[in-house]
Each structure stands twice: as C-alpha cells, then as structure tokens.
Symmetry: C2
Subunit: 514 residues, 2 copies
C-alpha cells in the first residue's frame, strides 16, 4: 500500500467520505487511490475556491469534515478566501495539498511555493508528511485537528514521493473530545444579570439550534431579557414554530442604536459585538458605553449545557418560550421585483426544511425579518466577509443533505467571484436554487463611501462600484455551465420561477433584476 492509498483509507476510517477537489499532477497518486479504494465521494470543482467553500458548507450541515484536495501552493491560494470564511464560521475542514517530491523542492520548479507559509494564516493546524509510513497517521491527525471544537482548519501537505512510495499504514482519528462545560459560578452570575429588558442574551454558534433557541425563549419569557444573535451566523434554525431571533444589524449606526438600551450583555457562543469595519469618528465596539459584558460560553464550549444551566438558574423551565414564530401565509406578491417584494416571494415559497444560504448583501437586508414566519428552515451567513462564499457553500450543503432543498441568495457582484460553482451543481445534479439579485452595482460600497466620510463621489469612483457596463447576463452564464436559468423582473413571476425550480429537484438559477 502506497502513502496515497493509506491516506485515503485513513480518512475513510476517520469518518471522512467526501472530497471536493481540483487536482493536478502532484495529486495523481491520490486520485488513483480514490479509484482503488471505495468509500469516498469525489466532487470535481473548476476552481479551488469552490472546493474550500463547499467543504465549509458541508461541515455546517453534516457536522463532520470533508476534505479538499488542492494542487500545490497556487491551488491552495485559490482556496484561501473561502478557507478564511470557513475559519471565521468555525467550520472543520481538512485540506490535502499536494507538494513536489523532496528531491524536487530544492530546485525552485515553476510551481514551487511556500505552502506552509500560505497555509498558516487560514489554518489552525499545518503539517507536512515526511514519509509514506507517516501519511496515514498524519491524515488521522488532520481529521482530529479539524474536529477540535468548535471546528478547525487542518492543512496536510502531501509531497508526491510520500504518496507514491510503498509502506503506508491505516490509522483512524479518535472521537472528538466533549465540549467543555460552563463554570457554575459563572452561570449564577449570568443568571443574576438576566434581570429584565436592560440585559441582552447574545447567542452564536450552536446556541442557534432550534432546541437551544427554545431554551433562550424560556429564559427571555421568565426574565424579560432581550435575545439577539450576531450579524453573521454559521447556521441558524428558524421559521414557523421556532423562537424568533433577530440579528445585530450590519450598518454601524443601526447596530449602535439596537444595542444602546443594554447595560448588561451575556454571551453564549457569541463574541462581543464590533463593527465590521472601522469608520472615521465612529466606535468600533458596538455595545453601549459602560455596558457590562460577560462571556459565559465561547463558541467551542457546551452551549446546550450552558443554556440548560441558565434555564435552571433563572427558574425558566416552566415558562413558555417567548416569541415563537407563527406560520404566516404570505399572499403572492406582485409588481416590480424589489427588496420588499422579493422578501415576500421568499416568505411565500421557502419550502419546509430548506437550507437558505444568504449572500444577498444590500438587497437582502429585508429578507431575514420577512421570512421569520415561513416554513421551518436553516439560515446560513457569511462569517468572514469575503464575497463569493454562497454558491460553493450551497454545493456543500446539498452534498451533505441530499434530501433537503437549498436556496442560495446572492448579489451579482458576489456571484461572479465563484461563478464556476454552477458547473459543479449541474454535474452533481444538486437540488440548489440560486437567486442572483442583480442590482448591477456593488451597492454596499455606495453606502460605505458615505460611511467612511467620502461625500459626493465623482464619476471615476462611481465607475469602480458599477457592474452595468456591460450588464451581466446570468441566464446565459448559467446555461453555459449546464444549469437551467430564467430572468425575472416581476415579483409574481419570481414566485412562479422559485416554485418551478424547487419542483425540478435539480439546480436552477433565477436572475432577479432589481
């Protein structure tokens, strides 16, 4: 058994069965091993940013790592932006990055690059295999590293000679360690702080499961405290029957306004709120001045246990959860597709148990509140701020959950970053409906120009933010990659298009001109 085969077998023995890849010459033995060894689904992507984003989405839904197989330093580099997003979302990912054989590395061949240097900024764990005998154990260690709570990026560098040399052995990663529990004294202190509407219980990570939100709803009912989530959540369960949770807004002035009333903030899986960017003359910390902040439980802690403890300590076990969303049947909207009518169309059509991957940026700010009473669904945000996350993440979600429908909401500017995703959706026949919200501008930057103090931008500045010269035709691009597509400008037509797309069971793209 060569090193490559031992690695594939070790990954499978460690519970990994999905690979998102764009391989090259240095990875050919790994590709050959995928052939000989059954048990690993390999999904080809036309660009590595698609592979890494797909692994992010896969973790969020499957709660176990997929691997990416990447071609040396440049292949890894193309995946870094979505690894950045995955890291900020606490997703566990195992990257296998091919490398030249040892004898070749000193020669500065064209593809030679500092792979470890490129890996470190986006990896919690980086290791280069030294010999074929080590590769299996290294693979198991990488999986173990990826599974360290709340999820980590593990990058294993695989020199081609360690892949092709005989002498491999198979190893399995140990089961992940339990999440640390919360200190009883801290729990008492937090429970005491939750004494009315001037206290905010701010939730993140796995505190946003349906079950945990129900606990938060009981605590809110009992104590009168407010509950919110962070702006960006890796995964949030919502819709009819679930406790409604609003997010701290993205626009800096709105965020400051929403957080102003709270004198005490208890964090469960969330971080203390800060601005996405710095703005001249505006604070970076968004909580009210002098607010007391207690970090009760971090993203990697036992958040379910922390909320159980808070329910008990506040005496909320008998309280009915506050703010459970009622199923709201929305009338079919009509008129021009805009932020409001698209939100209505979504509220009317989101199917039961859907996964919504949200990169709708400016157009989509109204979507979240408008869909609180839709059928129960899961909502995913971009946690790292690097655009181009949603189409790849939608692939990962659909691969992880073949029985669920995936809806990706994406701005036109963001969609172009990883547009190659559409081909993989077609190739794999994934049940993904993509809504491209085509406002033909980097609209968010128009607002940000003002926020950073630039008044009256001139034509050259505006031109740098405009996507209308020429207009992008997403229908043509989607068809070019084998995805059925349609363009709509009217809200009723949008409802029809979403319903037809969902009914098809395969990938579809709807370009919504707004």
């Amino acid at each position: 058994m060569n090193g490559a085969e031992s690695l594939v077998k070790s990954l499978i023995a460690s519970g990994v069965d999905t690979c998102f890849t764009n391989p090259g010459t240095s990875e050919m033995h790994f590709v050959a091993a995928l052939d000989h060894v059954p048990g690993m689904r390999s999904v080809l992507c036309l660009f590595e940013g698609v592979a890494t984003g797909a692994a992010d989405g896969y973790w969020r839904m499957a709660r176990k790592p997929a691997i990416t197989l990447l071609h040396l330093g440049p292949g890894l580099a193309n995946g870094i932006a979505n690894l950045h997003n995955a890291k900020k979302a606490h997703s566990g990912v195992v990257n296998i990055v091919g490398e030249h054989a040892e004898t070749h590395r000193k020669l500065d061949a064209p593809l030679m690059a500092d792979i470890e240097g490129l890996s470190r900024p986006v990896s919690h764990w980086v290791h280069s295999s030294l010999s074929a005998a080590d590769v299996g154990a290294d693979g198991a260690s990488a999986v173990a590293a990826a599974q360290v709570e709340p999820g980590q990026i593990a990058t294993l560098i695989l020199p081609s000679d360690t892949a092709w040399t005989e002498g491999g052995s198979v190893h399995a990663a140990p089961a992940p360690a339990d999440r640390p529990g919360v200190d009883a004294g801290e729990l008492e202190r937090a429970a005491a702080a939750l004494d009315g509407p001037e206290t905010l219980l701010l939730l993140g990570g796995l505190a946003l499961t349906a079950e945990n939100l129900e606990k938060a709803g009981r605590i809110a009912a009992r104590t009168g405290c407010a509950i919110l989530s962070e702006w960006s959540n890796a995964r949030l369960e919502r819709g009819a029957g679930r406790v409604v949770i609003n997010r701290v807004p993205y626009p800096i002035d709105q965020a400051l306004g929403v957080l102003k009333p709270y004198k005490r903030v208890v964090l469960v899986g969330a971080r203390a709120p800060i601005g996405f960017f710095a703005y001249p003359g505006k604070p970076a910390v968004l909580t009210a001045e002098g607010a007391e902040i207690q970090a009760l439980a971090g993203a990697g802690d036992d958040l379910s246990g922390a909320l159980d403890g808070l329910v008990e300590a506040t005496g909320a076990a008998g309280s009915a959860p506050r703010g459970i969303a009622e199923r709201k049947h929305v009338a079919r909207p009509s008129g021009k597709a805009d932020a409001v009518t698209i939100a209505q169309a979504l509220a009317a059509t989101i199917p039961d148990n859907a996964i919504v991957v949200d990169e709708s940026i400016t157009t989509g700010r109204a979507f979240f509140p408008a869909t609180a009473g839709a059928a129960p669904h899961t909502w995913l945000n971009n946690c790292g701020g690097s655009i181009g996350y949603s189409l790849p993440v939608a692939i990962g979600c659909a691969v992880a959950c073949p029985d669920r429908k995936v809806l990706a909401l994406v701005g036109d500017g963001s969609a172009m970053y990883t547009i190659q995703s559409l081909w993989t959706m077609a190739r794999e026949g994934l049940d993904v409906t993509v809504l491209v919200l085509a406002n033909r501008t980097y609209q968010i930057l128009r607002g940000e120009l003002t926020n950073v103090g630039v008044q009256n931008p001139g034509p050259r500045a505006i031109d740098m933010l405009s996507l209308d010269r020429p207009a992008l035709d997403f229908v043509a691009m989607a068809q070019g990659m084998g995805v059925t597509a349609v363009r709509v400008e009217e809200a009723g037509a949008l409802v029809d298009a979403i319903e037809a797309a969902l009914a098809s069971g395969g990938p579809n793209l709807i370009e919504v001109v707004v």
Copy 2:
C-alpha cells in the same frame, strides 16, 4: 491632503498610471482619491486573480509596474495564484492591499487576516504603512522595489486610517538602477565553451528580444553552438525575420532527449533546465549527466551586454545570424479542428505585431513550431504553472499596448479559472481575441497519470479529469459577460472567425471544439 491622495499622487509621480482593482470598504478613500487626482487609469475586475494577472501582463509589455488595489487579506488571497505566476515571470507589480484601521485590528473583525503572512510567499517586498505621513514615501518605495531588476512583487499594506488621515506628502521613486554587467573573465570562459554543436546557449528573459536573438543567431552561426530557450518565457519575440528559437520541451522524456547531446550549457538569462514536476524514477535535472553548466548572466543582469560581449569574444560580429525565419504563407486549412489544423489556422492569421498569450496546454504544443514563419509577433508563456493566467494577462497586454492585437490561446480547464476576465475585456473594449481550445478534459493530467506511474486509471480517476459532464458552453458564458462569441469545429471556419474577430477591434471569443 490625506494619505490616500498622497499615495495616488506619489504613484503617479513615480510613473505608475494604471490600476487593476476590485476594491472594498477599506479602500474607499483610495477610490475617492482616484476621483480627485487625474492621471491613473482604473480598470475594474470582478475577481482579484484577474487584477493581479493583468498587472503581470502589463509589466511584460510596458516594462513598468501597474498597481493592483485589493480588499484586505481575502482580496489579496484571491490574487495570489497569479502573483505567483507574475513572480516566476519576473514581473514587477505593486499591490496596494487595504487593511483595517489600527484600532480595529485588535478586535478580530470578520475580515481580519494576517495580510503580511499571506503576502510574503509571493512578494519580494512587504511593508505596512504606519501613518498618513508615511504613505506617500511608502508608495514610492513600493514602486522602486517593483522595479528592481528583473522585476519584483511589492506589497504595500494600507490601513484605512492612514488613508483617511490628513498629513500626506508626495514622493517619487528613483529611476531603476542599471542591470549589473557580466564579468569579463566569465565572458571569455563562456566564449571558449561555445565551440560547436555539443554546446547549448540557453536563453531566457530579456535575452529573447528580437535584437538579442539576432546576436544569439550570429554566435550560433559563428561557433556552431545550439540555441534554445526555456520552456516558459515571460516574453519572446518571434515570427518572420527573427531568429527562430525552440523551447526545451515540457514532457519529461522529450526534454531529456533534446538536452542529451549537450556537454556544455551556457546560461544567459535562463536557469539550468529542470523538470516541471518530479516523476518516480526519472531525473529532476534535465541536462545530460556530467554536462558543464555555466550561469553567465542571470535574469536581472545586463543580458544585452552579455550577448554583445559573447558576439565580440566569439568573433561573431561579421557572421549572418543563423536560422532567421522566413515568412511562410500557410494555406487556409480545412477539415476538423485539431492540434494540427488549428496550428495552421494560427500561422495563417496571426497579425503583424500581435501579442500571443499562450495557455493552450496540450492542444497547443504544435502551435509554437507551426507559427515560426508567421508575421512577427510576441509570445508569452505561463512561468509559474498556476492555470488561469492567460485571460488576465491578455487584459494587461491590451491595456499596455492599445495599438496591438492580442490573441489569447487557452484550454477550457484553464479558461474557467479566471473566466470573469471576459467582462473586463468587454467593459474596456479591449482588442483581444480569445481562442478557447475545448477538448473537454484536463488532458494534460491524462498524460501525467501515466508519467507518475499510474497505469490503467479507473472510472473515478478519469472522472476527476473530465470536463464533459456537462459540456461547457463558452459562447453562452462569453455572451453573458458582453463578449461576442462563436463556436467552430472546422478549421476553415476557425480562420474566418479569427479574421472577423481581429477585424472587429474589440473583444471576441472563439470556442474551438477539438
């Protein structure tokens, strides 16, 4: 004057007048400064890999740096693969990478990343501006660093507060230093080695200008030595009236065969030939065992002077250059488009003074020899091996040389990496004709599977190398980005399509199904 304005003015004062960008919030003051300060052409790209590749192409043709303006760590990350290629091509590029304000960096905001760490593997020079007062001088230093021969990657990190704070001043980069001359004793030694057909004069970099190739042709005529170039050349002048130079082949066995006769190798601007990859049981160094290798002049040395010196030392001044290509008028080909007939179509249509950006991979191996007698033109290769270089580089060439026609030859797999380039070509009305060679597979990897010793790959392996499920429709994709496009399968139709595209004066895409 704020820091951003001082930077734009300093870059212009340093001779930089072109910016390839995809900006974000942290770069908004720089964008505003581009508005106020005339003199910088800003070219919007929909993905940063397009911007960095364009800067590579711009340097190759303009011999001066363009800047890229990139959005924090992830924006830089998306540009790394083409910076890798630019670095290996010795292209001078100045990256301006936005960063959070100082007060914001400690907060671990979503877009916070280790920008310096990401920069170093692809940069010769990295610096973070500390205050608005420093930014102008930092910009001038970055330009100076990019211009260090033979061309370097300089990355300047620009925290948003240094951009928006007042107190900037304008600085200009000094003129680049002269290239070091070659030692007289080394020249004599090289001239003595050039004593017949067992010696190879291997050329690279600026040794491949028409003028320098003519010198090499005289030396070859006088001494009987062979001349070759490296496989990958940043820029090579060729066609009718120029000295024909062949390249060391890419396939390892062919390369070993071509280099076997040479007992002595003199390097002028080239490196000693090595394999692109390591292969089990095959040598990495491609020259014959025991061959004497003399590195007469490196890529950054005075290559023109080195060749002048060799002409003199070998007494070749009076010799007519050996191997000048005659203009070869190729008959219009007919029949199925394949490697041979496409090569004929190119030979028949390459216009005078064209720039050919070659990423034609397997299909294109016959193109180079077949076009030696075409109209005089410039030929560019990928020096770093990271695919997706050609469409961005074509943008940079067309921006640098608006009076020349650019022909990009690209495999389908490579084209998909930076397909967003087409939109920028349309937006800027660039005179670029793109030939996508659609063999619907990563064909090169089929061969590499065998080269690395994988016999009889099975269906899962083959599937990872195939692009035919579904077939990509490049005509639809191009039209979706505003580029006129046509599909051809026949060689005569290809000639017509190339001629029509060249005559249009704007961007066109031709999908050649092979």
